[in-house]
Amino acid sequence: MCGIVGLFLKKDELRPQLGDMLTDMLITMTDRGPDSAGIAIYGEETEGMVKITVQSDTPEEAFAELDGALTSAIHSPVSMKVIDTHAVLTVADSVEAKAIEVLEEKGLRIMGSGQTMEIYKEVGLPKNVASRFGLRDMGGSHGIGHTRMATESAVTTMGAHPFSTADDQCLVHNGSLSNHNQMRRKLAKKGVFTRSENDTEVGAAYISSRIADGATLGEALEGTIEDLDGFFTFVTGTKDGFGVVRDPIACKPAVMAETDDYVAFASEYRAFADLPGIDGARVWEPEPATVYFWER
């Protein structure tokens, strides 16, 4: 049970303000999710390189000399940016799989990876999480945030959203899935594994597994309506945009706003209150069992 926010900028000149706008939206959703918060931010891209976001509960130890160690393990240059409990390691895309393997062996938790996506999530109130990571100062083309009120799985970093199960893809969720255990087993048989007990991660894994099988993101989202049981409003991020889908019953709230500058998503209208030009925006609610998509 949670609050979701999303912001997709249509104008490049707004990019430096993305983090600032998203942070206010995220903090407004604190009541819906005081347990943990997270954000996926789609920022700068370096040709041929990929960013891997990792987390550690003992960052000082874990991140000391990590770039050097990784460089020698994968025989390829690594650059590292440490922010609080998270580190973003940039490596050549050809060695991504190897790098993730090495990082996991070192006991680091993989938050996600991609050419532009970085994921930051932690336990705690959204405002504290935002300030720890300096979300306000982050720029980018689009971002998705989540505040969590944990239902059945634990209040941990790994249980926080967004969940990423493929490069540059992430998913946040408001609701509660009722067939996630079955689906987890089904995906595991196909060799798709999840890292937490969280229902949303299964939704994310389902979507990326469908895409790996050749479906478009749109088709994969359509598939959630058929194959996932329970209540959900999903927002999914990709390198080029974001998508929204609600289950057919559509009890969990969702509201969208669009201006010439941006498309915004939130669980409640309140999250839009500080967005520039919101009074003149087109504001509407996504229909049930309908996939929406914005791409640049």
Partner: protein
């Protein structure tokens, strides 16, 4: 020639006469069996726990002389006006409609005399019960029958019903016989039709929405009333934790033995966890959130004796709530109506067709003639007496364990007679210091 010995006719365990009679009933009618009351199957219960009275290592208190307090305050977290009760036993929500007006009045009279609260139900608030209840909890249910801001403000607390033990996750269907003119009027429904109740609230789903609903209820009632959240005992750890996160002042946790006015038998018997099994996970959730005793826990579902009360409190509840037992105290299923129970095809103790409105005891009915059989004053006194006995029994056990307040009872005052009870209550099997799930020996 000698006759071959006959084997005795052998009944099937799987297809017992009871089972077969239900198959025949289903085949004849095409509708599931609807009845009142709670689960009738045997489940591990408080009977499987015993108290460890004081002797040498602890000192008992002298009965009747040395103080053993029973008072409880509910709703201390946010409400300006918490509910102060003399005894840790409240009367659970039972609707006007399922019960007659005089029965509701009797509950109010008995509870008020004993110093505790009563609760409305799925049918709005009546003058009979408001007038005779010193403390009245107003239930806020999915149907919202008779819901209005005036009654909300004249209630002493508001209980948002998310689920009940007899049917966690269920709505219901009350057949039309009891929807008389008065009941229908209060519920804005035509007379005599079946009532299909929703399983979810019409204007919110989930704890994140519930938090906002609670804000609205508090804003309408000047932040005075404690907000209770009632859940059916199914996933007590999560449900308790989420109720706390949504802003509850009090959590009412109703185990599977909890009663209902009318629900599918399959629901009553096959959904939910025994009350005994619900308490420890709920208390654990409160402890994990640092909210044990800050948010009060009221446990219901199969509470019958002062021993049940004491055991529920020892496991961590702040109070208990009774429904079925209160009805029995009023006169439900009394042997004096045996001849009439027989005519209805049932017997004393087994009468559960409360939804049909033909209750010989005049309690679960809207029939004016049957209603007259219950004298609300006399029935109220019986309920008061019964509540007093429960309290005295609970005090007796608390004193025996050396406590000057019933809330000082603790799990360490208990042992279990069975492995099941030991596992569910997380108290040691008698004679050992071990319960299933506990590591080490």
């Amino acid at each position: 020639m000698e006759k071959t010995p006959d084997t005795e006719p052998r009944q099937s365990w799987t297809f017992s006469n009871d089972t077969n009679s239900e198959i025949r009933r289903a085949a004849a009618t095409g509708i599931y069996d609807i009845r009142g009351g709670g689960a009738k199957r045997r489940v591990p219960h408080f009977d499987d726990l015993l108290f460890l009275g004081a002797s040498m290592s602890r000192y008992p208190l002298e009965g009747y002389r040395e103080k053993c307090d029973t008072s409880v305050t509910l709703g201390t977290r946010f409400a300006k006006k918490p509910i102060e009760l003399k005894i840790p036993i409240t009367i659970a929500g039972m609707s006007f409609g399922s019960l007659s007006g005089p029965a509701k009045e009797a509950l109010g009279r008995g509870a008020s005399m004993a110093g505790t609260s009563t609760t409305t139900g799925d049918g709005g608030m009546t003058e009979e019960e408001r007038g005779h209840s010193e403390k009245l909890i107003y239930q806020y249910l999915p149907s919202r029958y008779g819901m209005n801001p005036d009654d909300l403000r004249r209630a002493d607390a508001i209980e948002v019903v998310v689920g009940q033990g007899a049917k966690p996750g269920g709505g219901g269907m009350l057949l039309g016989q009891k929807i008389t003119e008065r009941v229908a009027g209060m519920r804005c429904l035509p007379e005599g039709i079946d009532q299909r109740s929703a399983c979810r609230h019409p204007d919110w789903t989930g704890p994140d929405d519930l938090e906002i609903k609670i804000l609205e209820l508090r804003e309408i009632t000047n932040w005075e009333k404690p907000i209770y959240i009632k859940v059916g005992g199914a996933r007590p750890y999560y449900d308790t934790a989420l109720a706390v996160k949504a802003g509850a002042d009090v959590i009412v946790l109703d185990g599977m033995q909890g009663g209902t006015a009318a629900t599918q038998d399959v629901f009553i018997e096959h959904v939910g966890q025994p009350t005994l099994a619900c308490i420890r996970p709920a208390v654990q959730a409160l402890q994990d959130l640092g909210m044990h005793r800050e948010v009060q826990l009221v446990v219901s579902g199969g509470i019958r004796t002062g021993a049940d009360v004491a055991k529920a409190l020892a496991l961590g509840a702040d109070a208990v709530s009774i429904g079925t037992a209160a009805l029995v105290a009023l006169g439900d299923n009394d042997p004096k109506w045996e001849a009439e129970y027989q005519k209805l095809g049932t017997t004393t103790g087994a009468y559960d067709d409360w939804h049909e409105g033909r209750d010989p005891a005049g309690i679960t009915t809207q029939d004016p003639e049957l209603m007259k059989r219950l004298d609300p004053e006399a029935a109220g006194r019986r309920l008061r007496n019964y509540l007093n006995v429960l309290t005295l029994e609970c005090q007796t056990l608390a004193r025996a364990c050396g406590h000057n307040h019933v809330h000082n009872l603790e799990p360490e005052d208990l042992c279990a007679l069975t492995m099941e009870a030991a596992a569910m209550a997380q108290v040691p099997l008698a004679g050992t210091n071990w319960y299933p799930g506990k590591t080490g020996f």
